[in-house]
Amino acid sequence: MSTDTTTHTEEHGMSNAGYIKIALILAAITALEVSTYYVDFGRLFMPALMIMMVVKFIMVVSYFMHLKFDNKMFTWIFYAGLILAIGVYCVALATFHFFS
């Protein structure tokens, strides 16, 4: 029985309490993101927002979408699409002098 439970946890990720903890962390980061709209973070504003966005993204993908626990092939498939998209559109935006 204990072997079954271990196998189940490995295949499907975390316990429900774990998911709730992740959701609470995500909610706290969202609250912090919203606070940047009202509080002046100075030069830290943009880097802080970008970091929080990336952390939330990775947490949802890793824990809620189970990429952290699943076969690495799925991670490669998804991040290949994501990196391709970021690369293609960064080049496209660069041609419009968006970053200048």
Partner: protein
């Protein structure tokens, strides 16, 4: 080994990769969706300053309202993952419950978006008012359509599960639905930060 696990082992298909073809297909689809939303987000970033004589983003955006909508969608990801977890355990009752709550939270988000669009329109922000408004409506509209499709799939799955009593072995269906729903959530995480929180 429980009866559900026994059924799951019996129903599992042997594939050349050793991975579920359905799951590989879903991840490929989500990877391709990154390109779709990447294009829409890039277009918005390019045109967000092109307001012409229309309102600017900062004049129309209601950050407190959108923050609540974002929170609702984020919590729907939690309810979805709880539904997937229940489906894996063969707990039909909790699967129905969490999938239904997810659909409800999704509908709340879409309702909020309809309200927001109506308010923007009343403030003079039509679809063709400026390049900013066009790219904004296309991006957030496409996302809203994705959420709506997700709600339809959630409700359809609930109906199918009720009629055919989908057991634990069919939990992959709920898991695929969960992957799509979480993807819609992570797209909104990016939209909320880049479109709403970063001033032009």
């Amino acid at each position: 080994m429980s009866a559900d696990h026994a059924v799951a082992s019996h129903d599992a298909h042997v594939t050349s990769t050793g991975l579920s073809n359905v799951k590989v297909g879903m991840w490929l689809f989500l990877g391709s969706e990154c390109l779709l939303f990447g294009g829409l987000i890039s277009t918005y970033m390019l045109y967000r300053g092109r307001v012409g004589t229309g309102p600017t983003p900062m004049q129309v955006f209601d950050i407190p309202f959108t923050s609540v909508s974002s929170f609702v969608l984020l919590m729907s990801s939690l309810t979805m993952v709880l539904g997937v977890s229940a489906a894996h355990k063969g707990d039909d009752r909790n699967t129905y419950l969490w999938v239904a709550v997810t659909a409800l939270l999704g509908a709340t988000f879409v309702g909020g978006q309809v309200y927001e669009f109506t308010a923007f329109y009343n403030e003079g922000m039509g679809f063709s008012t400026s390049l900013f408004t066009s790219s904004f409506y296309v991006l957030t509209g496409f996302h809203g359509v994705h959420v709506t499709v997700g709600i339809i799939m959630l409700m359809s799955t609930l109906g199918i599960m009720k009629r055919s009593k989908v057991p634990g072995s069919k939990s992959e269906t709920v898991e695929m639905l969960g992957l799509y729903w979480h993807f819609v959530d992570i797209v909104w995480i990016i939209i909320f930060t880049l479109i709403y929180l970063i001033p032009v």
